[in-house]
């Protein structure tokens, strides 16, 4: 499903060169639930951003669903992200000016989906995360856990094959974190979604199929 080959990411300024990722080789199969762990600054989020086509590697090849993504033009990258990937971020990244339902509809906005169909699918996604009673609320009227559930609904509404979660429980207390983890596990088991999750929490990582550890930009296990 996902194949990374010799991935390297280097950040350069006029005087300093920082290696964020060094020779990463990684394969994730369809339906896998993989977690990535490592200390802060080891390159976990950078790796997730490269898998999510939000950032480009300095070297190496990215292949997702049999498609090489290096050098794709902006419009094709956008289309690919829209069809194949769903994102969940640590700080939720909801659009505060839009109500919950409109936030969840967002990925469908960039597909040819009618307004009524968008409403239906977004409502269904919110039901799956137990938030059907908060559709007309605005993000700043919700708790952290509720916001993350909205973010999950947004990530799954377009039924992407891959969900990328960057510390989805990082801003939540343990109870909320477990609730979110339950939802992700269900998505993986019931809907066969491939999930890659960056986390700092060993307990959360234990609930996934496989754990990848990074240290100083290199894969150590």
């Amino acid at each position: 499903m996902i194949h990374l080959k010799n991935i390297e990411k280097v950040y350069r300024t006029a005087t300093v060169e920082t290696v964020a990722l060094n020779n990463i080789n990684l394969s994730v199969e369809k339906g896998e639930f993989v977690s990535i762990m490592g200390p802060s600054g080891c390159g976990k989020s950078t790796l997730l951003n490269i898998i999510g086509l939000l950032d480009e590697p300095s070297k190496g090849k990215v292949e997702i669903g049999g498609k090489h993504t290096n050098g794709l033009p902006d419009s094709q990258l956008a289309h690919f992200r829209n069809q194949t990937l769903g994102f969940i971020f640590q700080s939720f990244h909801l659009i505060n000016d839009l109500p919950v339902l409109d936030n969840v509809e967002l990925p469908l906005l960039y597909r040819k989906v009618s307004s009524s169909e968008r409403r239906r699918l977004a409502s269904e996604a919110l039901e799956k995360v137990g938030l059907s009673n908060r559709m007309k609320h605005y993000p700043n009227q919700l708790s952290g856990g509720q916001k993350q559930r909205v973010a999950i609904a947004r990530a799954i509404v377009g039924q992407p094959q891959i969900i990328l979660a960057d510390e989805p429980t990082g801003n939540l207390d343990s109870n909320m974190g477990n609730e979110i983890m339950d939802i992700l596990t269900t998505l993986n088991q019931r809907d066969k979604a491939t999930i890659i999750m960056v986390t700092h929490d060993e307990n959360m990582a234990k609930r996934t199929h496989r754990l990848i550890r990074l240290f100083d930009g290199s894969q150590v296990s």
Partner: protein, 416 residues
């Protein structure tokens, strides 16, 4: 998608009310000035009371003689004899009217001085124009033949002279030590109707000047009304033939011996624009409208640049939203479209405010007596210009910030 854009636009407008106020203030004020200016230009150019035939009339009022050897030239309004000799010889027109340039004179009424404008005209003047006679009638060819000392006054003079709404026809009025019988009272027209507005209209027989004197230049203009608008080119060609045979003035001055003459029968606007460009061989209409458009664009560009600045800072505040939209499938092109549409919505709101402000300003100008009798109107022509200008303004101020913003890297945008 448009509904989504609308929602986000209104949400963003509400979020930073001061920015919104500054933006809308700049847009609506600029558009108001442009709309009022358009209404004024329309008022100046288009047909209107009492020149309702202006669109299908021709005007001859300026003649220029040039000494190409000594680089001298002389130009000014045509004479009454010029009209009689050269213009009235045309076969195609339905009517040819002669009207003098306006002059001012003081008249003394009930111990107070009234400074008024007056013109001399022939009887055809009343046929090529459409004055509303509140009382009485115009003078005729018979009055002129009889050398009657009669005058047509406007309602302003009537109100000052005999009292508001009081009958004036038949009364005598002394002007410059000569008594005239008031024969008619017309509803006045604004000074901006350059060839016809006046307070007093005298038949040309009462003029103290020697109108029979043969000379090219004088103090008159000719208004030519064709039978049908399709006759206009025919009349122009016919007049050009006549003009080519006009004998140049023998000045007897060795420093100024004119060898070339420029005079033409033009539409109202061209009769002015021709004066702007060179010797008058070019009609100058394109030149005139290029200048007007240039000034309008220059005028618009200042608030547009300001709006670009405001938009840049507003858009940068929305970096996170841009990152989110990109992450979930929005391409740069889609985002440019979104932000341009948002900006157009903002400027259209400004446009709507400007329409109401313009209506207020036009109402004020029409009723304030700043320019007597002015009748500016907010018509569809003006409204279309307002909409067009709003859209142009939206595009001008929206495209660059939208393009800059769409180039943001997703990861960088999400970090905000």
């Amino acid at each position: 998608m448009l509904l989504n854009y609308l929602k986000i636009t209104f949400a963003v407008l509400q979020r930073r009310k001061f920015f919104t106020f500054i933006s809308l203030f700049g847009i609506s004020l600029t558009l108001t000035i442009l709309v009022v200016a358009t209404a004024f230009i329309d008022h100046l150019i288009a047909a209107g009371y009492p020149e309702i035939n202006r669109d299908r009339s021709l005007y001859i009022w300026n003649v220029k003689e040039k000494d190409t050897k000594n680089q001298g030239q002389s130009s000014g309004p045509i004479s009454f004899s010029f009209i009689n000799t050269y213009v009235r010889s045309l076969k195609t027109p339905a009517k040819i009217a002669a009207v003098s340039m306006p002059s001012t004179i003081n008249i003394y009424l009930n111990n107070h001085k009234l400074n008024v404008r007056y013109r001399y005209t022939d009887s055809n003047f009343w046929e090529v124009t459409s004055f509303d006679f509140l009382e009485g009638k115009n003078y005729t060819e018979q009055n002129i033949a009889n050398n009657d000392y009669v005058v047509v006054i406007n309602d302003y003079v009537r109100d000052e002279y005999v009292g508001k709404g009081q009958p004036a026809v038949g009364k005598m009025i002394e002007i410059d030590n000569v008594n005239y019988r008031i024969i008619g009272v017309v509803r006045g027209c604004p000074i901006t109707r350059i060839h016809v507005s006046s307070d007093l209209y005298f038949p040309y027989n009462t003029s103290k000047a020697d109108l029979k004197k043969v000379e090219l230049r004088g103090n008159f203009a000719a208004i030519i009304l064709p039978n049908t608008p399709s006759d206009i080119p025919k009349i122009q060609t016919e007049f050009n033939v006549v003009a080519s045979k006009i004998k140049l003035t023998d000045t007897g001055d060795k420093w100024f011996k004119p060898d070339k003459l420029y005079v033409s029968a033009d539409s109202y606007i061209t009769s002015f624009t021709r004066q702007f460009k060179g010797d008058g061989e070019d009609d100058g209409v394109g030149y005139f409208f290029t200048i007007v458009l240039g000034i309008a664009l220059l005028f618009m560009s200042l608030p547009a640049i300001n709006l670009v600045n405001i938009n840049m800072s507003r858009i940068m505040e929305r970096a996170s939203e841009i990152g989110i939209r990109k992450a979930f499938g929005a391409s740069s092109k889609t985002l440019v479209m979104q932000f341009v549409i948002e900006n157009i919505i903002l400027t259209l709101i400004g446009g709507v405010i400007a329409v109401f402000l313009s209506l207020g300003v036009i109402y004020y100008l029409n009723n304030s007596n700043l320019i007597a009798y002015i009748d500016l109107s907010f018509n569809w022509k003006v409204f279309s210009v307002a909409i067009f200008v709003s859209l142009l303004f939206g595009l001008l101020s929206g495209v660059y910030p939208a393009w800059r913003m769409s180039k943001l890297q997703v990861v960088e945008a999400l970090k905000n």
